[in-house]
């Protein structure tokens, strides 16, 4: 690991999990692993990004993701500006492009963007000179969520010394509203890059079109997949999908695709249960599952900060040289 692991020219942005090669993804996980040891010490703030400005540009409410990025940037001593659409000029119809130009004038070294439109982060990257980190764009991707999920899997299932390692042969089952899930898209791409075997489980109405072209398998039968899963990742299902006739009722959805204690018992001994949050307890995941020792939901949150620190650090290296 010498020279420039993330050449400034190639990776100024993190828009899609597909942008990452295996080596690059492993580098992020390894960097996060080292930072985790920092996080374990009493002094947790690093001077790395001192003098740099990270803007959190959130067009959609997401307190948990924004807070996670904010904590990551602050632990690296960056100046953080939170720019939320609500109550700002964005709410008055300012375009994404004009917002980008405003950020540019503020001298943002990195823009963390959450937007309801797929591709918004991609478009933004064309209008700013700083690094763009996609914190969720519509139903497209959420790459840092996939990275923190992979980090959590490696932490819980990997060998004691995980440095340099991927997730080869780990069997991951992702369950729920895959069609509308940016978390699922990013996870499929990243986990495949890291060597995991991913299976998507959803009712046919919530399975993406052309899923056979994705680097994963697809199944409608949750119970059949449970027995051969090292990881089960439950996706949030939204009530409004019911009114659009994707399934008849929340109760029926929960019966067929929810993870309850009975289903959890089908899992192998070592298997873990993940959820990107926020959870609908009693819908896609039962309370006793969410609170069980198999659940990594709390670890995912703390790992989120560490992985985002790694991403910001690796992207912002050489920022001046690239600009």
């Amino acid at each position: 690991m010498t020279g420039s692991p993330m050449p400034a020219g190639r990776h100024r942005h993190l828009i899609s999990a597909a942008d990452l090669s295996r080596d690059e993804a492993v580098l992020i996980l390894d960097t996060a692993a080292e930072l985790a040891s920092v996080a374990g010490r009493p002094i947790r703030k690093l001077p790395t990004l001192r003098g740099m400005t990270v803007v959190n540009l959130f067009f959609e409410d997401s307190t948990r993701t924004r807070t996670s990025f904010e904590a990551a940037a602050k632990r690296l001593s960056a100046d953080v500006i939170n720019f939320s659409a609500r109550g700002s000029s964005v709410a008055k119809g300012e375009s994404l492009k004009d917002t980008a130009l405003t950020l540019e004038a503020m001298g943002a070294d990195a823009v963390v963007v959450r937007h309801s439109a797929s591709g918004a982060a991609h478009r933004l990257a064309g209008w700013v000179t700083g690094s763009v980190v996609n914190a969720g764009d519509g139903t497209h991707e959420h790459p840092t969520q996939a990275l923190l999920d992979a980090f959590t899997m490696r932490q819980r299932l990997g060998a004691p010394d995980q440095r340099g390692g991927g997730l080869d042969g780990v069997r991951v089952t992702i369950v729920g509203d895959v069609l509308h899930s940016r978390v699922a898209r990013s996870n499929v791409l990243l986990l495949a890059t890291l060597g995991a075997e991913v299976t998507l489980v959803a009712p046919p109405t919530l399975m993406p079109y052309a899923v056979e072209t994705w680097p994963c398998k697809a199944s409608y039968d949750f119970d059949a997949e449970l027995r051969k899963s090292d990881v089960v990742m439950m996706l949030r299902v939204q009530q409004e999908r019911m009114t659009a006739a994707y399934f008849p009722s929340i109760r029926e959805y929960s019966r067929r695709y929810g993870l309850d204690a009975g289903r959890m018992a089908l899992l192998p001994e070592h298997a873990i249960v993940m959820h990107p949050g926020p959870m609908n307890r009693g819908v896609e995941i039962a309370a006793e599952v969410a609170d069980s020792p198999r659940s990594t939901i709390v670890a995912q949150v703390s790992n989120g900060v560490i992985v985002r620190m790694a991403v910001l650090y690796l992207l912002l290296g050489g920022a001046a040289a690239a600009a």
Partner: protein
């Protein structure tokens, strides 16, 4: 191939065309022995010292110094590594580097005499970063610095307490330290930048 490897002379680095060998393996060995003796002398027999190597090549150097000290004194000197990457001040200018390990011996650094170990002392910025990084680990009683080569051109008020070899260089020159543990051979080479 059966190696009839000529002992690298001082005029040309064997197997490194264009580079001049400035320290032979034997000279490196002797320099480290001398530094180990000096450390023992200055710290009253190595009492309460912790050797922390700065990755990459400071780490094996710290390990070697610890081995010498154990050899000379019969007591083991705790050693570890201190990654300074996240404390560097040149992130804007260079691509981000992969983080290296920070491993502190179980006794920690509080109240200890920490000897930082690095291969080459140049601008002093790495040592500045190391002092900051060390600050996050605890509060040593004293911090000292041991380097294999001091090539000059300091940009900060930093000096080494122990120097294996003072090597006056021109600014445009490059010093490469090769070690068995990381590079398969022991050698210090001098060359020109932008070759």
């Amino acid at each position: 191939m059966c190696a009839m490897r000529p002992e690298p002379g001082h005029e040309q680095g064997a197997g490194h065309p264009g580079w001049k060998a400035v320290l032979t393996p034997e000279e490196i060995r002797r320099a480290l022995s001398r530094v180990a003796h000096e450390i023992l002398e200055r710290t009253h027999g190595g009492e309460g010292i912790v050797l922390l190597g700065i990755p990459t090549r400071g780490v094996p150097l710290a390990r070697r110094l610890a081995a010498r000290i154990a050899e000379f004194e019969g007591t083991s000197a705790p050693y570890g590594s201190l990654d300074v990457t996240m404390h560097r001040d040149d992130l804007r200018l260079r691509p981000a580097r992969a983080l290296q390990r920070t491993e502190v011996p179980s006794g920690g650094v509080d109240g200890k005499t920490v000897v930082l170990v690095d291969d080459v002392l140049f601008s002093g910025r790495t040592i500045r970063a190391a002092l900051d990084a060390l600050n996050d680990l605890g509060r040593p009683r004293a911090v000292q610095l041991a380097v294999l080569v001091d090539r000059g051109h300091r940009e900060l008020p930093i000096r080494a307490d122990y120097v294996g070899k003072n090597l006056p260089t021109a600014y445009r020159e490059v010093v490469r330290v090769l070690l068995e543990e990381t590079d398969g051979e022991d050698s210090v080479l001098l060359g020109e930048r932008d070759r």
